[in-house]
Symmetry: D3
Subunit: 135 residues, 6 copies
């Protein structure tokens, strides 16, 4: 149960329709997932968020699309966003993530969380060797 109504295609205003159309064209599928239907209650934010997703996750760049999804999953796990974990794990699989890669992702996320917590417990001081200005 969401805190807002999910906007169906029939209820969508012109601005929302245009974004939904662009999502469909960009992804090559008719499926619009619930995040966009919820965000559609605020058409301006829907549009700016989708533009940012296209820019960060879809546009050509130095990181390949699957690597971007793995990073997205990692942040979503650490922020405990259940929906985001589901949607980006599905995206990663659609982009070719193998079970081996997924297992390694789990290993890294788990290890990072463990050492993050141990470092914070120990309050380890930053080594001066990490200072860029020394390079």
């Amino acid at each position: 149960m969401a805190t807002v109504r999910l906007v169906t295609d029939d209820e969508a205003c012109d601005e929302v329709r245009a974004v939904f159309a662009d999502i469909r064209a960009t992804r090559g599928t008719d499926f619009i997932n619930n995040f966009w239907r919820a965000l559609a209650v605020d058409p301006k934010r829907l549009k700016s968020t989708w533009e940012e997703v296209k820019d960060v996750m879809v546009a050509p760049g130095e990181l390949d699309p699957l690597t971007r999804e793995l990073i997205y999953i990692a942040v979503s796990v650490a922020n405990s966003c259940s929906y985001c974990v589901h949607s980006h794990t599905a995206s990663a699989r659609a982009k070719g993530m193998t079970e081996g890669q997924y297992g390694e992702l789990l290993g890294i996320v788990g290890l990072a969380a463990k050492t993050n917590h141990i470092v914070t417990a120990l309050q380890v001081p930053v080594d001066p060797e990490f200072d860029l200005a020394r390079g």
Copy 2:
């Protein structure tokens, strides 16, 4: 200032010395960063943690070493571990991360955090399409 003493090479017991030697051999550098010197107050945990780091971050696998570091940074940022952000950003640079890749990482981490929070605010229900069992 740490919550424990940092163990110097001179103070290290045999078990710690052996781990420090393996870190140096594995990384091809004499530098032992403060995380290991702090963890060395508990030699058994030092050893098991280093073994896990070697297994997850160093051993051959399907994800390349730089991608692993990017995922590690992402988790460390979301868990707000200052030391870990410094040490793994330095590692990523040592493994060839370009400024362009770093900029894209910032973009993905920032966008993921933003949508994680908006999704949690909206309490978006998980789409049944994400269910593996439907595949």
Copy 3:
């Protein structure tokens, strides 16, 4: 499914009954939401928590009741508390939150999360200009 039984009106001991009565009187409704029914397994903590909620969220102050709810939602989102997001979004609506205000709240929470993460990734040093002692 909770980790404790939810206490019904019939099961409530005298101390719990008194708190439930005060919640109803203060809010002008017969409805007692599940948080209080769960907390009622520990009557002393139920009472002290309700007193704190009355003091912080209900008593007259310099921040108006709706602003207080918006801040509460923001913290609850960042702490990923699904129940709290639902209950305080409902409270904010009951206190007059408009859809426009809600959209702006989403925008601020999303932007703050994004910049929080980017700042942590960049480890930006605090400007001396922010020091109160300079004022």
Copy 4:
């Protein structure tokens, strides 16, 4: 110590100069805080982030500028972003936050964090009364 160089005015390229000029004009001060100088290593992200800040925090809307800062502080606290807490507390003071309002903010943030954690510990089920669809 940041993970990137902070860009000085002299080092700024044209794109960065234009953003810095707009920050100065918008805020009516010559001061550019370190966040923007760090982000300036990625001029495109600097520009898009500043545009989002202007849109969300500066443009006219239904929430007044001080309320927006209080919400920003709340999220930054919960995400444990030290720099962001400093910069937005300074902004809130510059926008007229009184000590009384600040004390109330602390009270709400502290209470929300406390109840967020207790609710998560108790795994309280969401009341059907919070469902919008019942309204």
Copy 5:
């Protein structure tokens, strides 16, 4: 709905079967909870994680088994892991946690979260008296 299939006893490969058998023997129950059935998609990680759980939570040590569970619950609450809260609250009860102890745990977790957030809001500087080196 999980992001992976849960492995049943019938589907388990030999490596998974061996871990399941050890879980059953160690705990003295036939019940294998879903965490292990999900992790079983990656037999090597299943094994190493179970070994770590046995080492940290089961092996003799200076902290008694119930205290270990209370600490585990506290971390799981702060990291907002719903499943972990359920499973470790059940474990703590199985190890004899009384309702009085549980109430005190809620009180500590709630108070710690509240002061954590207030301290972060106030950016309180660490007292030199906390420095071990002064001792």
Copy 6:
């Protein structure tokens, strides 16, 4: 650098003086750590927070004082509160925490964080066996 002035003994108003005196008497030391000096800018909140600390951390109960500190540290680590980690690690040592116990605490906190993240990544469904109502 704090976001507020730290209140010295000389600057303290009567209400603050009374709380400081009670902290000193309760703890049997003249030392007042910075958290209380920062919170003293809001005397009412200082008093109520100290009362809660006394009630939760000092008053007789079923959990011994050291166990309470270990739980407090665990939450503070997961919430990434550097000051709180320092102050409560010092408190735990003052209450007799051994290096062996501290090492076990690190092990539990690290393991919990790791499994919390892996469980969230896998979105493991809660076992019906954990339901109290089945008991």
